[in-house]
Structure formats: C-alpha cells, structure tokens
Symmetry: C2
Subunit: 210 residues, 2 copies
C-alpha cells in the first residue's frame, strides 16, 4: 500500500476505463450483447468509439475478466512435485479462488457483484463463452509450464497437459455453477467438489493423508 502515487493522467485513464466497462456490462445485461453496438457503449459512457477501442482491443474484451493466471502458476510451481498432478493443480486452483473471491470489504462486495455480472454474460453469450474458454486454454499453458514437466520428456509433458486441462475443465464447471447460484455457494468449495467428482477423494483432501 505504499506505491500510492498515481499520476492524474493515470487516474483519469483508469477511471474512464472503469466507466466504459461498467456502462458496457450494464447495457449488455439489459439489452443483450448482440443488440448493443460499441457506439452505443461509447455514447453511454460519454466518450468516442475510438476511445473504447483504445482501452479494450475488441468488444468481447469489455466483458472478459483476466483470471489471475500469474498467481495460479506461481502456486503450482511452488507445490511439491511428489504429489499427483491433479492434486498439485487442483490445490493451486482452490487456493487462488480463495484469495480471489475472499475478503469482506464494501469494495470487495461490489467487485464480486460486477464479476458475477461479467461471468453471467460469458456463460450465456456464445461469442463471449468461446473467448473465455480460449483464455482458459492460455491458463492451461501457463500451468503446464509451471509444472516443469517439459524437460522430462514428451510423454510426461503430454500427461501434464492432459491432467491440467481436466482440472481446468472441472474448475470451469464450478465457475458456471457459482454463477447459476449467484455467488451464494463459496467458490473454493464448488471447485473442490468438482475436482472430487472428477478425480476421486484423494485428489483434493489435503488435510489428512499428508
């Protein structure tokens, strides 16, 4: 909390970015993603269409959320290589989700509501769903790199790819359910249940059986 010295320019920039995105999600939610043009969003936010594109490369990016891929990858890399693959990845995913949705401030609650709005759109709109799935594909690559099985041979790398993709798919199912429940169920719990349903009890139960 010490590098709090953003320029006026930077503050303005991130503020318009936030404004544009907020108006976009609201309009998309109210009238449907396809029925709202980028020009509409720009007008609602009081900027030009070009400014929207300067902040968000595509219309889809107005809704897509950056998952903390960096954070997840770090946790995976830090995990013990002695554990089975699915547990290494699964634990990292649960861990990251805890830090992601946790917190109980006022701002945090608003953030979570916004996040749920975005995810609702992502699940229901084909174009957004497709892009979101592809971004999880990128997350998969980051995790596989962090696992460090590339050098062990092509077969080990293949197994790492397979196990990681399966874990992420289970997490995606949990995410979908989380949205359907409007965020009432705790996300980490949902992920743990999804992993258990896919890989069995021993893939998740980190508390016993060290």
């Amino acid at each position: 909390m010490s590098e709090r010295q953003p320029n006026l320019r930077e503050r303005r920039r991130s503020e318009t970015r936030r404004l544009v995105q907020a108006h976009a999600v609201r309009l998309f939610t109210d009238h449907g993603y396809d029925a709202v043009t980028v020009a509409d969003v720009a007008e609602a936010a009081g900027v030009s269409a070009m400014t929207v594109y300067r902040h968000f490369p595509t219309k889809e990016d107005l809704v897509l959320i950056d998952q903390p891929a960096q954070l997840i990858a770090e946790r995976v890399a830090a995990s013990s290589a002695a554990q089975p693959l699915v547990r290494r990845v699964g634990s990292a995913l649960i861990d990251a989700a805890t830090n992601w949705t946790g917190g109980n401030g006022d701002e945090q609650a608003a953030n979570e509501r916004f996040l749920l709005d975005c995810l609702r759109l992502m699940v229901s709109t084909p174009a957004l769903r497709a892009r979101h799935l592809d971004s999880q594909y990128a997350l998969q690559q980051a995790i596989v790199d962090a696992l460090g099985y590339d050098a062990t041979g092509p077969d080990a790398a293949f197994r790492a790819q397979a196990a990681t993709s399966a874990c992420i798919a289970a997490m995606h199912t949990a995410l979908t359910r989380w949205v359907e429940d409007d965020g009432h169920t705790k996300l980490p719990d949902l992920i743990a249940r999804a992993l258990t349903a896919s890989f069995g009890d021993d893939a998740v139960a980190t508390r016993r059986k060290d």
Copy 2:
C-alpha cells in the same frame, strides 16, 4: 448404402459446398486464416461471396468440423450406470474415436488428411480455437443429458457436469497431440493415455476388472 438417390440439385449443392470448403482450407493453410477474405475463397471456388455464406453461416464454419456428438451421446446412454462417471464417458469417447478415424479405404485416407488440415487450423488460429472449444462445450451438454443424472438431483447433475467436462478436456489434449503428430499415433490410444494421466488406470482399463 441403399438410399443412394440424391437429386441432381442436391448433388450439385453438396458438391459446391465441398468445393468451397476445400478451397477455403487450402487458402487458409497456405496464407493464414486472417490473411484470406471470404471474397478470396469465393473467387477461388468460382462462386459469389453470397453463396459461401449460404453454405457456411460464418467464415469460421468453413473450417469447423462437426464432431459426431450424436454418436457419442448414444454410446454414453447405452453404457452401464454402475460404472464410475469418467469410465462411462471415457469409454464412449475412445469408442467414437475408433469408429471416426478407423477405416482404410482410399476415400477414408483423404478424409483423414482433410480432417487433419482442419484441426491444424483450429489449433493454431485463436478465433477457430475458441469456436472449437465452444463446440466441445455443446458436446458436453449432450453427454450430460445422455448420462441421465439430471433427475437424480442437482448435486448428481453437478458431478456429472464436472466429470464430463474433465473427460472432454482430456480428449481435447489428445486431439491436439494427434494433430502435432500428423495423425501417426492412433487417436484412440492417445485419448486412453490422456484419460489415464488424468483419472488413473482404473478409469480406462476396460479389459480386466469387468
């Protein structure tokens, strides 16, 4: 092989469709998906741009392949409900892949080469990869329906969703590897290996332990 009585119109129609798609995949492979316009494809195929859109709703559909979702769903529905979820789904996927890539005629070999070209584009082009992942999402819904766990309660349905999505993700990893190997390794074997890496030996070994 007995309902061979297609109209001349229908034959012409499917022939132009095939022609357009073949030229499209060739051009995309040679110059890159983004560098080729729909007008280019139309010109190469000797038709108007409008005709291309009449056969393929979007440019992406020129490359996307219909996976035999119907076939897979039927096999899942026919499998014994006593088996664990991942084995029910996994066996169906392996089974379907066997019937899909099998065969050894001349036409079959050409089909497989075309299929590999399409998949290569799907893996390397972001827009196509995203759409492909979304189509597998649709496959997931079909499989979950076929599993028949919807009526058993919301928790069972959630477990079915999770396990199915994980299986499909593993299959997708196998598909990607298959493309990288240019189809040299047998696809069913790759799927089996991916499933084993994710879920352990007992998820696949159908030969012993009935």
